[in-house]
């Protein structure tokens, strides 16, 4: 199974991206729990790309390659997020201090922490003018 999802990197298209990914993994037979994890991960990555790879004065698109890999009786979902925005390595963002009390707790950085926790593998590479972020999860 393989599918390419492509749309403008704008928040109004967030639901389109997430619904397309949901349809893909539903067809692959993933449980509701796994679907939740994947959708949450996808939202965090997409919103980060929209905010940081494409700042306000820069428009562009995001392409997602979804693929089901099967080996040794295991089914894995691989999603590759590709944008042509400025260099942005989500993995370099610092995770927040999770034990900080409400008063001093930082409001940023939670998204990437969720992605790293929910996925089995997360990797980034910059290829010429593209940011390429891959995530893999057993479903």
């Amino acid at each position: 199974m393989f599918q390419v999802i492509r749309e403008k990197a704008e928040l109004v298209h967030l639901n389109f991206f997430l619904k397309s990914i949901r349809d893909f993994i539903e067809k692959a037979g993933a449980s509701e729990e796994k679907i939740f994890d994947v959708i949450l991960t996808a939202e965090e990555i997409l919103v980060n790309i929209m905010s940081y790879a494409y700042p306000e004065n820069q428009k562009g698109e995001i392409e997602i390659h979804c693929q089901i890999l099967e080996a040794d009786g295991e089914k894995k979902l691989k999603c590759v997020f590709i944008d042509e925005g400025k260099f942005f390595d989500i993995l370099q963002k610092e995770s927040p201090d999770l034990s900080a009390p409400i008063e001093t707790r930082s409001v940023g950085g939670l998204g990437i922490h969720l992605v790293k926790t929910l996925m089995d593998e997360v990797s980034y590479m910059r290829q010429v003018d593209k940011n390429i972020l891959s995530v893999v999860k057993t479903i």
Binding site: L14, L40, L98, P101, I102, E103, R105, V107, L110
Partner: protein
Amino acid sequence: MEVFNEKKNGITCLRVEGRLDAAAAPAFEKALLSAIKEDSSKLVINLADLAYISSAGLRALLVGAKEIKAKGGKMVLAAANESVKKVFDISGFSSIFELQDSVDDALKKF
């Protein structure tokens, strides 16, 4: 996402219904801050009908919690489903927020 301002025993209970994602979070944050402006002493957030939350929703909750705390009040979260609870656990919110299984339990915390 929709937010309903309901009163129980004179305490404001904000019931949030649907999906609290990046597109919905700004409207939720606005409703939350407006409820705190009305009454900054006691607030229950009823999550029974919340199907999904992302970091944008967590940030809105944190902004509200900071605001009510700065004003000397208290905010209690109630009735989150298993998926939402998992997001709270991963993000450390379970230890910094007061989470109750039901709205009735949350009301007893004041």
